[in-house]
Symmetry: C2
Subunit: 342 residues, 2 copies
């Protein structure tokens, strides 16, 4: 069964393709095509099970009703949840999603961006890596619809929806400090990204503001992309090597997950031996024994806002970029003791 085209319909109806196109695009009224003919065409289209070829339409009209979502890793629950929200929101407006994972790999990210730019994508929602900065600038110059999420480039006039990583982290550390903890460690990614910088900076400043001297050996960076087992080992070694460390802050969900595994392997009791807070929430953190206190990102709102901004831009290309920073919220659970004697 070959694909039926507008031509087949025109033939069967004994009219031109133009007329068919008008009818199919709901312009019958506007073009004052007779009701009778309209119905005839519609009926034939239905009978033939006509499906407009979106490629041809896209080629002609220049728009594809497709939005690209570029995330770090779709199998990370944070991005997966975000992806779902974004898909849902876009769906309401008739847009489809094409998604790609960069894995924080610069080569891959560049490849993905170039591929997308070939595909006449209408809009982009992107978790950028450092290496695609110039491509993003180019996109922005070309007046493409573009929204960054999760991280961004402060010096680029591009819309973004992000979270106040700094204050999220600051609050978490301050919370621990107020509970009496002082030797607090932090596990972050080695890869330098805006959002991680903010989270580490929040940690440093909170200590500073509370007159706790910063100890470099309590700061651990885990390179992105190393195998899970290796990461867990590194975290375990880190914890073992710092017996004075009474609390630990993980700057992202998978590091927190690795951390829990490390602590379990080491036989450490939370919060008695060591207190724990992680950035990002998950089922694991919520249902863990003890439950883990977290800094939660409002991913629903991030997704919704990103889509809203993107759609606005799609409609009005000349719109000023909008840059939104949302507040994360601490969810207090049981992984930090209420008071600590030291």
């Amino acid at each position: 069964m070959k694909n039926v085209s507008i031509k087949d319909i025109a033939q069967q109806a004994g009219v031109s393709t133009t007329t068919v196109s008008f009818v199919l695009n709901g312009k019958a009224k506007e073009k004052r095509i007779s009701e009778e003919l309209r119905n005839k065409i519609l009926k034939i289209a239905q009978k033939l099970n006509y499906k407009p070829n979106q490629l041809a339409r896209g080629l002609r009209t220049g728009s594809t009703n497709t939005v690209a979502l570029v995330v770090e890793d779709i199998s990370n629950i944070f991005f997966a949840s975000l992806a779902k929200i974004i898909e849902d929101e876009l769906d309401k407006f008739g847009y489809r999603l094409m998604y790609c994972s960069t894995e924080n790999n610069e080569k891959k990210a560049v490849g993905i961006m170039e591929m997308l730019m070939h595909r006449q994508i209408d809009g982009y929602i992107i978790t950028p890596t450092l290496g695609i900065k110039n491509l993003l600038e180019q996109l922005a110059t070309d007046n493409a619809s573009l929204v960054l999420i999760d991280r961004y480039f402060p010096d680029l006039p591009i819309s973004y929806v992000a979270v106040d990583n700094y204050s999220g982290s600051y609050e978490a550390i301050e919370y621990m400090l107020k509970k009496g903890y002082s030797n607090i460690g932090i596990v972050s990614m080695g890869y330098e990204q805006v959002q991680m910088e903010g989270r580490v900076k929040g940690y440093i400043d909170a200590l500073n503001d509370h007159k706790i001297p910063l100890q470099q050996n309590l700061i651990k960076k885990i390179p992105f992309g190393i195998p899970e087992s290796r990461a867990i080992e590194e975290i375990s070694e880190f914890i073992s090597s710092q017996p004075a460390m009474v609390a630990i802050f993980f700057t992202t969900n998978y590091l927190g997950t690795y951390g829990l595994e490390s602590l379990k392997n080491l036989g450490k009791i939370i919060p008695d031996d060591i207190a724990v807070i992680s950035f990002d929430d998950s089922d694991l953190f919520r249902l863990h024994t003890p439950s883990i206190t977290v800094v939660r990102q409002p991913f629903e709102e991030i997704g919704q806002k990103a889509v809203r901004i993107l759609l606005d831009q799609l409609v009005d290309k000349s719109r000023e970029p909008r840059q939104i920073t949302l507040k994360p919220s601490m969810i207090i659970r049981q992984s930090v003791m209420q008071t600590i004697e030291s």
Copy 2:
């Protein structure tokens, strides 16, 4: 900056678009185009930052190098992990992924399928819902490249990669029976799907084979798509209403997660008060206290096999459908007691 087309290059190089097209498609040798001209064209293309318009190419060649992945819910870790594997595998062969979630919603699923069929997608990897059976048949008749995953229609001659749900479930129940448990409950989805049927059937047959009478009140179905809080309540009520139930089997990861939350809320101790096994593995199950025994699906292999079959079909349209059933594996952990006195 407007998009540069092949025509612009031809103009600048003072040659025809044909020549440019040949060079750009690596057919210079074949068409015996002079090395000199080849380099000139390549240089100009580079300078102009030429990006082939994939829509036009797709329209012309009939293929888009795009594969669609239709899953139940991209925010479910099982599907998200699968999606990542599939994306990785396809990437190796130059294919891109467009993914959609059906949410097990028939209307949505049909809409997605129709949308995809408009888009000249090269191949489909699909977690089907019941309602798209006829669309799948149509696709198969049209000789599209198509692989089902996770579930399938036994009577349709369409390739699939699935898991032996029946035996996975059977083994889990048998394991519990051998440990001395007999009043074993099961929590499944209300929605009738092949894979869930298999899991429930495995439960029933295992009981049967061990001469344990089936008790309908130990079988709980949770409708797909009800809010999480409601599902947790339903499971809690189910557990409370069956005090004789000493073990419980959850047929999928999110039901298992809800179940753990319910048990936590009820203050039930695993495995002392009640033993637990869940289908699907997750960080939560692995790191839970106690860790949860699971029936793990080999999602890496599912993804890889699905892609492999799809690519084979893409190359050779006449290939017979291949239907693969993989064995799940039980991971014994601590949520079932080693021996039980009754």
